[in-house]
Protein backbone atom coordinates (compact mmCIF):
# COMPACT_ATOMS: atom_id res chain seq x y z
CA UNK A 1 0.00 0.00 0.00
CA UNK A 2 2.67 2.43 1.03
CA UNK A 3 4.96 1.32 -1.70
CA UNK A 4 2.32 1.90 -4.33
CA UNK A 5 1.69 5.40 -2.94
CA UNK A 6 5.32 6.30 -3.33
CA UNK A 7 5.35 4.74 -6.76
CA UNK A 8 2.57 7.05 -7.84
CA UNK A 9 4.38 10.07 -6.45
CA UNK A 10 7.54 9.13 -8.25
CA UNK A 11 5.62 8.64 -11.43
CA UNK A 12 4.05 12.10 -11.13
CA UNK A 13 7.44 13.68 -10.54
CA UNK A 14 8.83 11.74 -13.45
CA UNK A 15 6.03 12.86 -15.73
CA UNK A 16 6.46 16.46 -14.67
CA UNK A 17 10.13 16.29 -15.38
CA UNK A 18 9.50 14.81 -18.78
CA UNK A 19 7.01 17.54 -19.54
CA UNK A 20 9.56 20.11 -18.45
CA UNK A 21 12.17 18.59 -20.71
CA UNK A 22 9.70 18.50 -23.54
CA UNK A 23 8.81 22.14 -22.99
CA UNK A 24 12.45 23.07 -22.85
CA UNK A 25 13.10 21.31 -26.13
CA UNK A 26 10.18 23.01 -27.87
CA UNK A 27 11.29 26.41 -26.64
CA UNK A 28 14.81 25.74 -27.83
CA UNK A 29 13.62 24.60 -31.22
CA UNK A 30 11.46 27.68 -31.55
CA UNK A 31 14.36 29.90 -30.60
CA UNK A 32 16.54 28.21 -33.19
CA UNK A 33 13.82 28.66 -35.77
CA UNK A 34 13.48 32.37 -35.00
CA UNK A 35 17.22 32.77 -35.15
CA UNK A 36 17.35 31.04 -38.53
CA UNK A 37 14.65 33.34 -39.91
CA UNK A 38 16.39 36.43 -38.60
CA UNK A 39 19.67 35.23 -40.04
CA UNK A 40 18.10 34.49 -43.39
CA UNK A 41 16.48 37.94 -43.58
CA UNK A 42 19.73 39.68 -42.70
CA UNK A 43 21.86 37.65 -45.04
CA UNK A 44 19.50 37.87 -47.98
CA UNK A 45 19.07 41.61 -47.50
CA UNK A 46 22.77 42.31 -47.20
CA UNK A 47 23.62 40.00 -50.08
CA UNK A 48 21.18 41.99 -52.15
CA UNK A 49 23.02 45.19 -51.32
CA UNK A 50 26.24 43.60 -52.52
CA UNK A 51 24.92 41.76 -55.54
CA UNK A 52 22.30 44.32 -56.60
CA UNK A 53 24.51 46.62 -58.64
CA UNK A 54 26.32 43.64 -60.13
CA UNK A 55 23.10 41.99 -61.31
CA UNK A 56 21.93 45.34 -62.64
CA UNK A 57 25.14 45.85 -64.60
CA UNK A 58 25.18 42.35 -66.06
CA UNK A 59 21.50 42.54 -67.05
CA UNK A 60 21.92 46.01 -68.51
CA UNK A 61 24.84 45.00 -70.66
CA UNK A 62 22.52 42.79 -72.74
CA UNK A 63 19.88 45.48 -73.30
CA UNK A 64 19.21 46.69 -76.80
CA UNK A 65 18.18 50.29 -77.45
CA UNK A 66 14.49 49.46 -77.46
CA UNK A 67 14.83 47.62 -74.14
CA UNK A 68 16.53 50.61 -72.59
CA UNK A 69 13.83 53.02 -73.72
CA UNK A 70 10.95 50.78 -72.75
CA UNK A 71 9.70 51.60 -69.25
CA UNK A 72 8.17 48.17 -68.65
CA UNK A 73 11.39 46.19 -69.05
CA UNK A 74 13.18 45.34 -65.85
CA UNK A 75 16.32 43.20 -65.72
CA UNK A 76 15.25 40.70 -68.39
CA UNK A 77 15.71 42.19 -71.87
CA UNK A 78 13.14 41.57 -74.59
CA UNK A 79 15.59 41.82 -77.47
CA UNK A 80 18.91 40.79 -75.95
CA UNK A 81 21.94 41.85 -77.92
CA UNK A 82 25.68 41.24 -77.83
CA UNK A 83 26.34 44.50 -79.63
CA UNK A 84 27.55 46.16 -76.40
CA UNK A 85 30.17 43.48 -75.90
CA UNK A 86 31.29 43.66 -79.52
CA UNK A 87 31.93 47.41 -79.31
CA UNK A 88 33.44 47.22 -75.82
CA UNK A 89 35.84 44.45 -76.89
CA UNK A 90 36.86 46.52 -79.88
CA UNK A 91 37.25 49.88 -78.16
CA UNK A 92 39.12 48.55 -75.17
CA UNK A 93 41.38 46.44 -77.40
CA UNK A 94 40.40 43.82 -74.89
CA UNK A 95 42.32 40.68 -75.84
CA UNK A 96 45.62 42.48 -76.32
CA UNK A 97 45.39 44.54 -73.17
CA UNK A 98 44.12 41.60 -71.17
CA UNK A 99 47.03 39.43 -72.27
CA UNK A 100 49.55 42.13 -71.34
CA UNK A 101 47.81 42.79 -68.05
CA UNK A 102 47.75 39.10 -67.11
CA UNK A 103 51.46 38.72 -67.89
CA UNK A 104 52.21 41.84 -65.83
CA UNK A 105 50.11 40.72 -62.87
CA UNK A 106 51.36 37.12 -62.98
CA UNK A 107 54.98 38.23 -63.12
CA UNK A 108 54.56 40.54 -60.15
CA UNK A 109 52.70 37.89 -58.18
CA UNK A 110 55.43 35.30 -58.64
CA UNK A 111 58.10 37.76 -57.52
CA UNK A 112 55.92 38.91 -54.65
CA UNK A 113 55.40 35.32 -53.45
CA UNK A 114 59.08 34.47 -53.65
CA UNK A 115 60.46 37.62 -52.02
CA UNK A 116 57.82 38.01 -49.33
CA UNK A 117 57.98 34.37 -48.25
CA UNK A 118 61.76 34.59 -48.13
CA UNK A 119 61.74 37.72 -45.98
CA UNK A 120 58.98 36.33 -43.80
CA UNK A 121 60.95 33.13 -43.32
CA UNK A 122 64.06 35.06 -42.40
CA UNK A 123 62.16 37.03 -39.79
CA UNK A 124 60.44 33.95 -38.41
CA UNK A 125 63.34 31.56 -38.08
CA UNK A 126 66.57 33.44 -37.58
CA UNK A 127 67.86 35.83 -35.00
CA UNK A 128 70.15 38.59 -36.11
CA UNK A 129 71.05 42.04 -34.85
CA UNK A 130 68.38 44.75 -35.28
CA UNK A 131 65.74 42.14 -36.01
CA UNK A 132 63.12 43.92 -33.93
CA UNK A 133 63.88 47.24 -35.55
CA UNK A 134 63.67 45.73 -39.02
CA UNK A 135 60.39 44.04 -38.25
CA UNK A 136 59.09 47.37 -37.01
CA UNK A 137 59.94 48.62 -40.49
CA UNK A 138 57.59 45.99 -41.93
CA UNK A 139 54.82 47.28 -39.70
CA UNK A 140 55.65 50.86 -40.66
CA UNK A 141 55.37 49.85 -44.30
CA UNK A 142 51.89 48.47 -43.66
CA UNK A 143 50.73 51.50 -41.71
CA UNK A 144 52.19 54.37 -43.75
CA UNK A 145 49.82 55.19 -46.59
CA UNK A 146 51.65 54.90 -49.88
CA UNK A 147 50.65 58.40 -50.92
CA UNK A 148 53.12 59.84 -48.42
CA UNK A 149 56.01 58.54 -50.46
CA UNK A 150 54.48 58.93 -53.91
CA UNK A 151 56.35 62.06 -54.97
CA UNK A 152 59.84 60.78 -54.09
CA UNK A 153 59.04 57.49 -55.82
CA UNK A 154 57.90 59.42 -58.86
CA UNK A 155 61.05 61.53 -59.04
CA UNK A 156 63.29 58.56 -58.25
CA UNK A 157 62.03 56.56 -61.17
CA UNK A 158 61.79 59.52 -63.50
CA UNK A 159 65.48 60.22 -62.99
CA UNK A 160 66.58 56.67 -62.31
CA UNK A 161 70.27 56.60 -61.50
CA UNK A 162 71.08 54.56 -58.39
CA UNK A 163 74.62 55.44 -57.20
CA UNK A 164 75.34 56.72 -60.69
CA UNK A 165 75.35 53.13 -61.96
CA UNK A 166 72.96 53.80 -64.80
CA UNK A 167 75.00 56.85 -65.75
CA UNK A 168 78.03 54.65 -66.47
CA UNK A 169 76.28 53.16 -69.47
CA UNK A 170 74.31 56.22 -70.47
CA UNK A 171 76.81 59.09 -70.73
CA UNK A 172 76.19 60.17 -67.18
CA UNK A 173 72.49 60.72 -67.83
CA UNK A 174 69.72 59.20 -65.76
CA UNK A 175 67.02 57.23 -67.52
CA UNK A 176 63.27 57.62 -67.26
CA UNK A 177 61.56 54.40 -66.24
CA UNK A 178 58.07 55.83 -66.12
CA UNK A 179 55.42 55.13 -68.72
CA UNK A 180 54.46 57.47 -71.51
CA UNK A 181 55.02 57.72 -75.25
CA UNK A 182 58.18 55.70 -75.88
CA UNK A 183 58.64 54.22 -72.44
CA UNK A 184 60.89 51.28 -71.66
CA UNK A 185 58.67 48.20 -71.34
CA UNK A 186 55.58 50.38 -71.09
CA UNK A 187 56.51 51.81 -67.71
CA UNK A 188 56.18 48.59 -65.72
CA UNK A 189 59.80 48.54 -64.58
CA UNK A 190 59.33 50.70 -61.45
CA UNK A 191 56.72 48.28 -60.16
CA UNK A 192 58.95 45.28 -60.89
CA UNK A 193 61.97 46.88 -59.23
CA UNK A 194 59.98 47.75 -56.13
CA UNK A 195 58.45 44.29 -55.91
CA UNK A 196 61.84 42.66 -56.37
CA UNK A 197 63.09 44.50 -53.28
CA UNK A 198 60.12 43.54 -51.14
CA UNK A 199 58.32 46.85 -51.44
CA UNK A 200 55.61 45.98 -53.93
CA UNK A 201 51.93 46.65 -53.52
CA UNK A 202 51.05 45.75 -49.90
CA UNK A 203 54.22 43.69 -49.59
CA UNK A 204 54.34 44.51 -45.88
CA UNK A 205 51.12 42.63 -45.30
CA UNK A 206 52.34 39.57 -47.18
CA UNK A 207 55.63 39.53 -45.28
CA UNK A 208 53.63 39.72 -42.08
CA UNK A 209 51.36 36.82 -43.12
CA UNK A 210 54.29 34.59 -44.05
CA UNK A 211 56.16 35.52 -40.89
CA UNK A 212 53.22 34.58 -38.69
CA UNK A 213 52.70 31.32 -40.52
CA UNK A 214 56.32 30.18 -40.47
CA UNK A 215 56.59 31.05 -36.81
CA UNK A 216 53.77 28.67 -36.02
CA UNK A 217 55.37 25.70 -37.81
CA UNK A 218 57.29 23.27 -35.59
CA UNK A 219 61.05 23.75 -35.54
CA UNK A 220 61.64 20.00 -35.72
CA UNK A 221 60.94 20.01 -39.46
CA UNK A 222 64.01 22.09 -40.16
CA UNK A 223 66.16 20.29 -37.66
CA UNK A 224 65.36 17.03 -39.37
CA UNK A 225 66.15 18.58 -42.74
CA UNK A 226 69.44 19.91 -41.45
CA UNK A 227 70.46 16.55 -40.03
CA UNK A 228 69.64 14.94 -43.34
CA UNK A 229 72.01 17.38 -44.97
CA UNK A 230 69.71 19.92 -46.60
CA UNK A 231 71.18 23.37 -47.15
CA UNK A 232 69.58 26.55 -45.87
CA UNK A 233 68.04 27.58 -49.15
CA UNK A 234 66.98 24.03 -49.98
CA UNK A 235 65.25 23.77 -46.61
CA UNK A 236 63.35 26.97 -47.22
CA UNK A 237 62.42 26.29 -50.84
CA UNK A 238 61.56 22.60 -50.83
CA UNK A 239 60.67 21.83 -47.25
CA UNK A 240 59.15 24.92 -45.69
CA UNK A 241 57.39 26.36 -48.72
CA UNK A 242 55.28 23.26 -49.48
CA UNK A 243 54.09 23.42 -45.87
CA UNK A 244 52.99 27.02 -46.26
CA UNK A 245 50.24 26.23 -48.74
CA UNK A 246 47.46 28.18 -46.96
CA UNK A 247 49.60 31.29 -46.85
CA UNK A 248 50.66 30.84 -50.46
CA UNK A 249 47.05 30.62 -51.62
CA UNK A 250 46.03 33.65 -49.59
CA UNK A 251 48.93 35.79 -50.75
CA UNK A 252 48.51 34.67 -54.35
CA UNK A 253 44.87 35.67 -54.49
CA UNK A 254 45.37 38.92 -52.62
CA UNK A 255 48.33 39.80 -54.76
CA UNK A 256 46.64 39.02 -58.07
CA UNK A 257 43.43 40.79 -57.17
CA UNK A 258 44.97 43.88 -55.64
CA UNK A 259 47.52 44.24 -58.40
CA UNK A 260 44.80 43.79 -60.98
CA UNK A 261 42.57 46.39 -59.35
CA UNK A 262 45.32 48.82 -58.45
CA UNK A 263 44.91 52.28 -59.90
CA UNK A 264 47.22 54.21 -57.60
CA UNK A 265 50.56 52.93 -58.84
CA UNK A 266 49.22 52.60 -62.36
CA UNK A 267 48.50 56.31 -62.33
CA UNK A 268 51.63 57.28 -60.44
CA UNK A 269 54.03 55.44 -62.74
CA UNK A 270 51.87 56.27 -65.74
CA UNK A 271 51.82 52.68 -66.95
CA UNK A 272 50.94 52.51 -70.63
CA UNK A 273 47.37 52.10 -71.85
CA UNK A 274 48.10 48.79 -73.54
CA UNK A 275 48.91 47.20 -70.16
CA UNK A 276 46.55 48.91 -67.75
CA UNK A 277 43.02 47.64 -68.15
CA UNK A 278 41.75 50.14 -65.60
CA UNK A 279 42.71 52.98 -67.92
CA UNK A 280 40.76 51.39 -70.74
CA UNK A 281 37.56 51.26 -68.73
CA UNK A 282 38.00 54.90 -67.74
CA UNK A 283 38.36 56.01 -71.35
CA UNK A 284 35.69 53.68 -72.70
CA UNK A 285 32.94 56.25 -72.18
CA UNK A 286 34.72 58.92 -74.21
CA UNK A 287 35.74 56.41 -76.89
CA UNK A 288 32.20 55.17 -77.41
CA UNK A 289 30.91 58.71 -77.48
CA UNK A 290 33.47 60.02 -79.94
CA UNK A 291 34.28 57.09 -82.21
CA UNK A 292 30.92 55.36 -82.36
CA UNK A 293 28.94 58.59 -82.26
CA UNK A 294 26.59 57.35 -79.55
CA UNK A 295 25.12 60.50 -78.09
CA UNK A 296 22.52 59.24 -75.63
CA UNK A 297 24.16 58.98 -72.22
CA UNK A 298 21.89 56.17 -71.08
CA UNK A 299 22.95 54.12 -74.12
CA UNK A 300 26.65 54.82 -73.56
CA UNK A 301 26.11 53.50 -70.06
CA UNK A 302 25.17 50.12 -71.54
CA UNK A 303 28.51 49.93 -73.33
CA UNK A 304 30.34 50.86 -70.14
CA UNK A 305 28.43 48.13 -68.31
CA UNK A 306 29.59 45.59 -70.86
CA UNK A 307 33.13 46.91 -70.35
CA UNK A 308 32.85 46.48 -66.58
CA UNK A 309 31.63 42.90 -67.01
CA UNK A 310 34.58 42.17 -69.29
CA UNK A 311 37.04 43.63 -66.79
CA UNK A 312 35.71 41.77 -63.77
CA UNK A 313 35.28 38.39 -65.46
CA UNK A 314 38.89 37.20 -64.87
CA UNK A 315 38.85 37.97 -61.15
CA UNK A 316 35.41 36.46 -60.73
CA UNK A 317 36.53 33.26 -62.46
CA UNK A 318 39.65 33.10 -60.32
CA UNK A 319 37.64 33.71 -57.20
CA UNK A 320 35.00 31.10 -58.00
CA UNK A 321 37.71 28.53 -58.69
CA UNK A 322 39.78 29.21 -55.59
CA UNK A 323 37.09 30.57 -53.28
CA UNK A 324 36.98 27.61 -50.93
CA UNK A 325 40.72 27.20 -50.54
CA UNK A 326 41.00 30.94 -50.19
CA UNK A 327 38.65 31.44 -47.26
CA UNK A 328 40.04 28.38 -45.51
CA UNK A 329 43.51 29.62 -46.38
CA UNK A 330 42.94 33.00 -44.77
CA UNK A 331 41.70 31.26 -41.67
CA UNK A 332 44.84 29.17 -41.42
CA UNK A 333 47.32 31.52 -43.02
CA UNK A 334 48.43 33.23 -39.87
CA UNK A 335 46.79 36.64 -40.29
CA UNK A 336 45.32 35.97 -36.90
CA UNK A 337 48.64 34.93 -35.42
Amino acid sequence: MRVSKFKKKIQIIYAEKQLGNERHRVVRQFKGFLMAILRAILIIGLSYVILGPLIGIIANSFFSNSDKYSPIIYLIPQNPTLERYRIALLRMDYWNVMRNMLIYVAGLTVIQLFICSMVGYGFARYTFPFKKLLFACVVIMIVIPSHTVMLPLFTTFREFNPFGLVGLFNDGESINLLGGGSAIAGGVLPMFIMTLFGCGLRAGLYIYIFNQFFRALPKEIEEAAEIDGAGTFYTYMFIMMPNAKPSIITVTIFSIVWQYNDTFFTRLFNINDNIALSKQITSLWANVENIDRVMDRSIIQLYVNAGIVLVIIPVIVLYVLLQKQFIEGVERSGIVG
Binding site: L46, F123, C137, L153, F197, E331
Partner: protein
Protein backbone atom coordinates in the same frame (compact mmCIF):
# COMPACT_ATOMS: atom_id res chain seq x y z
CA UNK B 1 89.41 32.60 -44.84
CA UNK B 2 87.50 34.98 -42.67
CA UNK B 3 84.31 32.99 -42.97
CA UNK B 4 85.86 30.08 -41.10
CA UNK B 5 86.24 32.15 -37.97
CA UNK B 6 82.52 32.75 -37.66
CA UNK B 7 80.78 30.85 -34.95
CA UNK B 8 77.68 28.83 -35.69
CA UNK B 9 75.35 31.44 -34.28
CA UNK B 10 77.07 34.15 -36.27
CA UNK B 11 76.70 32.08 -39.41
CA UNK B 12 73.05 31.60 -38.65
CA UNK B 13 72.45 35.27 -38.10
CA UNK B 14 74.26 36.02 -41.35
CA UNK B 15 71.97 33.59 -43.14
CA UNK B 16 68.94 35.22 -41.58
CA UNK B 17 70.18 38.59 -42.66
CA UNK B 18 70.63 37.30 -46.20
CA UNK B 19 67.01 36.14 -46.20
CA UNK B 20 65.67 39.55 -45.23
CA UNK B 21 68.23 41.57 -47.20
CA UNK B 22 65.95 42.28 -50.22
CA UNK B 23 63.49 43.91 -47.89
CA UNK B 24 66.18 45.86 -46.04
CA UNK B 25 67.54 47.26 -49.30
CA UNK B 26 64.07 47.99 -50.64
CA UNK B 27 62.88 49.64 -47.46
CA UNK B 28 65.93 51.86 -47.25
CA UNK B 29 65.84 52.77 -50.92
CA UNK B 30 62.13 53.27 -51.41
CA UNK B 31 60.58 54.04 -48.05
CA UNK B 32 63.19 55.51 -45.73
CA UNK B 33 64.76 57.59 -48.46
CA UNK B 34 61.35 58.65 -49.73
CA UNK B 35 60.21 59.72 -46.29
CA UNK B 36 63.35 61.79 -45.85
CA UNK B 37 62.82 63.28 -49.30
CA UNK B 38 59.20 64.12 -48.49
CA UNK B 39 60.36 65.95 -45.37
CA UNK B 40 62.99 67.71 -47.48
CA UNK B 41 60.42 68.74 -50.05
CA UNK B 42 58.10 70.11 -47.43
CA UNK B 43 60.75 72.27 -45.80
CA UNK B 44 61.87 73.83 -49.03
CA UNK B 45 60.63 75.53 -52.13
CA UNK B 46 60.85 73.60 -55.37
CA UNK B 47 62.29 75.46 -58.32
CA UNK B 48 61.57 73.95 -61.69
CA UNK B 49 64.04 74.88 -64.38
CA UNK B 50 62.33 76.37 -67.42
CA UNK B 51 61.84 74.04 -70.35
CA UNK B 52 63.59 71.04 -68.83
CA UNK B 53 61.76 67.72 -68.94
CA UNK B 54 63.10 66.58 -65.61
CA UNK B 55 65.09 67.89 -62.69
CA UNK B 56 64.35 70.37 -59.96
CA UNK B 57 66.25 72.16 -57.26
CA UNK B 58 65.31 72.90 -53.68
CA UNK B 59 65.88 75.91 -51.48
CA UNK B 60 65.27 75.76 -47.76
CA UNK B 61 62.39 77.90 -46.49
CA UNK B 62 61.72 76.51 -43.02
CA UNK B 63 58.14 76.12 -41.86
CA UNK B 64 56.69 78.47 -44.45
CA UNK B 65 54.93 75.73 -46.40
CA UNK B 66 53.38 74.29 -43.27
CA UNK B 67 52.11 77.67 -42.16
CA UNK B 68 50.69 78.30 -45.61
CA UNK B 69 48.94 74.92 -45.67
CA UNK B 70 47.40 75.34 -42.24
CA UNK B 71 46.42 78.99 -42.27
CA UNK B 72 46.07 80.20 -45.84
CA UNK B 73 45.27 77.30 -48.10
CA UNK B 74 41.62 77.24 -49.12
CA UNK B 75 40.56 73.67 -48.56
CA UNK B 76 43.30 71.69 -46.84
CA UNK B 77 42.25 72.04 -43.21
CA UNK B 78 38.65 71.46 -44.14
CA UNK B 79 39.48 68.36 -46.19
CA UNK B 80 41.65 67.03 -43.40
CA UNK B 81 38.99 67.40 -40.72
CA UNK B 82 36.32 65.94 -42.98
CA UNK B 83 38.56 62.98 -43.78
CA UNK B 84 39.39 62.33 -40.15
CA UNK B 85 35.77 62.63 -39.04
CA UNK B 86 34.46 60.39 -41.79
CA UNK B 87 37.16 57.90 -41.02
CA UNK B 88 36.41 57.69 -37.31
CA UNK B 89 32.71 57.44 -38.11
CA UNK B 90 33.24 54.63 -40.59
CA UNK B 91 35.80 52.73 -38.56
CA UNK B 92 33.41 52.31 -35.68
CA UNK B 93 30.61 51.09 -37.91
CA UNK B 94 32.87 48.81 -39.94
CA UNK B 95 34.33 47.14 -36.86
CA UNK B 96 30.91 46.53 -35.32
CA UNK B 97 29.39 45.38 -38.56
CA UNK B 98 32.22 43.03 -39.43
CA UNK B 99 32.27 41.49 -35.95
CA UNK B 100 28.51 41.01 -36.07
CA UNK B 101 28.63 39.47 -39.53
CA UNK B 102 31.56 37.27 -38.58
CA UNK B 103 29.59 35.83 -35.68
CA UNK B 104 26.60 35.32 -37.95
CA UNK B 105 28.63 33.67 -40.69
CA UNK B 106 30.49 31.50 -38.23
CA UNK B 107 27.30 29.67 -37.28
CA UNK B 108 26.47 26.46 -39.01
CA UNK B 109 23.73 26.78 -41.61
CA UNK B 110 23.04 25.73 -45.15
CA UNK B 111 24.68 27.84 -47.83
CA UNK B 112 27.35 29.14 -45.52
CA UNK B 113 30.13 28.84 -48.08
CA UNK B 114 28.09 30.70 -50.66
CA UNK B 115 27.25 33.46 -48.22
CA UNK B 116 30.86 33.90 -47.24
CA UNK B 117 31.82 34.05 -50.89
CA UNK B 118 29.24 36.77 -51.50
CA UNK B 119 30.35 38.84 -48.56
CA UNK B 120 33.94 38.67 -49.65
CA UNK B 121 33.09 39.64 -53.22
CA UNK B 122 33.46 43.42 -52.66
CA UNK B 123 37.12 42.94 -51.76
CA UNK B 124 37.66 41.17 -55.04
CA UNK B 125 35.88 43.84 -57.03
CA UNK B 126 37.28 46.77 -55.11
CA UNK B 127 38.82 48.69 -57.95
CA UNK B 128 38.64 52.42 -58.15
CA UNK B 129 37.98 52.43 -61.87
CA UNK B 130 35.20 49.88 -61.55
CA UNK B 131 33.77 51.63 -58.50
CA UNK B 132 33.59 54.89 -60.40
CA UNK B 133 31.82 53.13 -63.23
CA UNK B 134 29.41 51.45 -60.81
CA UNK B 135 28.63 54.76 -59.11
CA UNK B 136 27.95 56.22 -62.50
CA UNK B 137 25.77 53.24 -63.33
CA UNK B 138 23.86 53.72 -60.11
CA UNK B 139 23.24 57.35 -60.86
CA UNK B 140 22.03 56.53 -64.34
CA UNK B 141 19.86 53.57 -63.45
CA UNK B 142 16.26 54.43 -62.79
CA UNK B 143 14.29 51.92 -60.77
CA UNK B 144 14.79 49.28 -58.19
CA UNK B 145 17.98 47.44 -58.95
CA UNK B 146 20.14 50.05 -57.32
CA UNK B 147 21.04 49.53 -53.66
CA UNK B 148 20.40 52.10 -50.96
CA UNK B 149 22.23 55.03 -52.41
CA UNK B 150 24.48 57.37 -50.53
CA UNK B 151 21.77 59.95 -50.55
CA UNK B 152 18.72 59.15 -48.48
CA UNK B 153 16.64 61.77 -50.21
CA UNK B 154 17.36 60.28 -53.57
CA UNK B 155 16.44 56.82 -52.38
CA UNK B 156 13.12 58.04 -51.08
CA UNK B 157 12.25 59.20 -54.56
CA UNK B 158 12.97 55.97 -56.37
CA UNK B 159 12.51 53.12 -53.94
CA UNK B 160 8.86 53.84 -53.36
CA UNK B 161 9.45 54.25 -49.62
CA UNK B 162 9.21 57.68 -48.13
CA UNK B 163 12.32 57.67 -45.99
CA UNK B 164 11.78 61.20 -44.80
CA UNK B 165 8.51 60.08 -43.27
CA UNK B 166 10.33 57.66 -40.98
CA UNK B 167 12.96 60.21 -40.12
CA UNK B 168 10.26 62.69 -39.11
CA UNK B 169 8.47 60.00 -37.15
CA UNK B 170 11.62 59.08 -35.21
CA UNK B 171 12.28 62.74 -34.65
CA UNK B 172 8.82 63.15 -33.19
CA UNK B 173 9.50 60.29 -30.80
CA UNK B 174 11.94 62.58 -29.07
CA UNK B 175 15.14 60.74 -29.90
CA UNK B 176 18.21 62.94 -29.53
CA UNK B 177 18.99 64.65 -32.82
CA UNK B 178 22.65 63.64 -32.73
CA UNK B 179 21.82 59.97 -32.35
CA UNK B 180 19.25 60.18 -35.10
CA UNK B 181 21.75 61.80 -37.44
CA UNK B 182 24.24 59.07 -36.68
CA UNK B 183 21.74 56.31 -37.35
CA UNK B 184 20.48 57.90 -40.55
CA UNK B 185 24.05 58.46 -41.65
CA UNK B 186 24.91 54.86 -40.88
CA UNK B 187 21.93 53.54 -42.81
CA UNK B 188 22.66 55.68 -45.82
CA UNK B 189 26.28 54.52 -45.78
CA UNK B 190 25.40 50.86 -45.49
CA UNK B 191 26.66 50.16 -48.96
CA UNK B 192 30.05 51.67 -48.21
CA UNK B 193 30.25 49.84 -44.91
CA UNK B 194 29.37 46.46 -46.35
CA UNK B 195 31.74 46.76 -49.26
CA UNK B 196 34.67 47.87 -47.13
CA UNK B 197 34.39 45.31 -44.36
CA UNK B 198 35.25 42.15 -46.28
CA UNK B 199 38.79 41.65 -45.06
CA UNK B 200 37.89 42.57 -41.50
CA UNK B 201 35.09 40.03 -41.57
CA UNK B 202 37.42 37.27 -42.70
CA UNK B 203 39.92 38.17 -39.99
CA UNK B 204 37.21 38.02 -37.33
CA UNK B 205 35.91 34.70 -38.67
CA UNK B 206 39.41 33.30 -38.46
CA UNK B 207 39.68 34.56 -34.90
CA UNK B 208 36.34 33.02 -33.95
CA UNK B 209 37.40 29.67 -35.35
CA UNK B 210 40.58 29.69 -33.33
CA UNK B 211 38.68 29.90 -30.04
CA UNK B 212 38.87 26.55 -28.34
CA UNK B 213 35.43 24.86 -28.10
CA UNK B 214 36.21 23.74 -24.58
CA UNK B 215 35.78 27.32 -23.39
CA UNK B 216 32.21 27.28 -24.67
CA UNK B 217 31.64 23.88 -23.09
CA UNK B 218 32.76 25.18 -19.72
CA UNK B 219 30.56 28.25 -20.08
CA UNK B 220 27.60 26.02 -20.90
CA UNK B 221 28.22 23.70 -17.97
CA UNK B 222 28.52 26.66 -15.65
CA UNK B 223 25.14 27.83 -16.88
CA UNK B 224 26.09 30.95 -18.78
CA UNK B 225 23.50 32.41 -21.13
CA UNK B 226 24.33 33.18 -24.75
CA UNK B 227 24.64 36.85 -23.89
CA UNK B 228 27.08 36.16 -21.08
CA UNK B 229 29.02 33.74 -23.21
CA UNK B 230 29.48 36.44 -25.83
CA UNK B 231 30.83 39.03 -23.40
CA UNK B 232 32.88 36.65 -21.27
CA UNK B 233 34.27 34.31 -23.92
CA UNK B 234 33.84 35.44 -27.50
CA UNK B 235 34.56 39.13 -27.15
CA UNK B 236 37.72 38.86 -25.04
CA UNK B 237 39.08 36.19 -27.36
CA UNK B 238 38.65 38.25 -30.51
CA UNK B 239 39.60 41.56 -28.91
CA UNK B 240 43.30 41.42 -29.89
CA UNK B 241 42.20 41.46 -33.50
CA UNK B 242 40.11 44.57 -33.08
CA UNK B 243 43.32 46.60 -33.14
CA UNK B 244 44.52 44.80 -36.25
CA UNK B 245 41.22 45.54 -37.92
CA UNK B 246 41.18 49.18 -36.85
CA UNK B 247 44.65 49.70 -38.30
CA UNK B 248 43.66 47.97 -41.52
CA UNK B 249 40.40 49.94 -41.80
CA UNK B 250 41.99 53.31 -41.11
CA UNK B 251 44.79 52.80 -43.60
CA UNK B 252 42.43 51.39 -46.18
CA UNK B 253 39.86 54.15 -45.90
CA UNK B 254 42.50 56.85 -45.73
CA UNK B 255 43.74 56.05 -49.21
CA UNK B 256 40.34 57.02 -50.57
CA UNK B 257 39.91 60.19 -48.50
CA UNK B 258 39.71 63.72 -49.99
CA UNK B 259 43.05 64.72 -48.44
CA UNK B 260 44.92 62.18 -50.53
CA UNK B 261 43.14 63.38 -53.66
CA UNK B 262 44.05 66.94 -52.79
CA UNK B 263 47.71 66.15 -52.29
CA UNK B 264 47.81 64.08 -55.49
CA UNK B 265 46.29 66.95 -57.44
CA UNK B 266 48.58 69.53 -55.89
CA UNK B 267 51.61 67.52 -56.89
CA UNK B 268 50.71 66.21 -60.31
CA UNK B 269 48.17 68.72 -61.63
CA UNK B 270 49.43 71.98 -60.15
CA UNK B 271 53.05 70.72 -60.08
CA UNK B 272 53.56 72.13 -56.60
CA UNK B 273 55.87 69.52 -55.08
CA UNK B 274 56.47 71.29 -51.79
CA UNK B 275 52.89 72.02 -50.88
CA UNK B 276 51.77 68.53 -51.91
CA UNK B 277 54.45 66.99 -49.73
CA UNK B 278 53.31 69.11 -46.82
CA UNK B 279 49.77 67.83 -47.34
CA UNK B 280 50.90 64.20 -47.45
CA UNK B 281 53.14 64.61 -44.45
CA UNK B 282 50.60 66.41 -42.29
CA UNK B 283 47.81 63.99 -43.11
CA UNK B 284 50.08 61.03 -42.43
CA UNK B 285 51.03 62.50 -39.08
CA UNK B 286 47.39 63.04 -38.16
CA UNK B 287 46.51 59.48 -39.10
CA UNK B 288 49.46 58.01 -37.21
CA UNK B 289 48.59 60.09 -34.16
CA UNK B 290 44.99 58.93 -34.36
CA UNK B 291 46.06 55.30 -34.68
CA UNK B 292 48.48 55.67 -31.82
CA UNK B 293 45.87 57.17 -29.49
CA UNK B 294 43.21 54.62 -30.41
CA UNK B 295 45.59 51.69 -30.06
CA UNK B 296 46.86 52.98 -26.73
CA UNK B 297 43.32 53.26 -25.39
CA UNK B 298 42.16 49.91 -26.72
CA UNK B 299 45.22 47.82 -25.95
CA UNK B 300 44.75 48.56 -22.25
CA UNK B 301 41.36 46.92 -22.38
CA UNK B 302 42.40 44.09 -24.62
CA UNK B 303 42.60 40.62 -23.26
CA UNK B 304 45.63 38.63 -24.34
CA UNK B 305 45.15 34.93 -23.97
CA UNK B 306 48.81 33.98 -23.92
Amino acid sequence: MKLKKLTLSQKKSLKGFLFVSPFVIGFTAFYLRSLIMTVQFSFSETIMPEGAAAGHSLSFVGFRNFIFALTEHGSFTQDLTVSVFNMSFDVLLIIFFSLFMAILLNQKFRGRTLTRAIFFLPVILNSEAINDAIIMARAMMVGGMSPVSADVMEASGTAGVNVMYYIYMLNELGLPAGLLDYVVGAVSRINLIITSSGVQMIIFIAALQSISPSLYEVAKIEGATTYETFWKVTFPMVSPLIITNIVYTVVDSFIRSPVVTLSYETIFTHINFSLGSVFSLLSMMVVCLLLFVVCAIISKRTFYHN
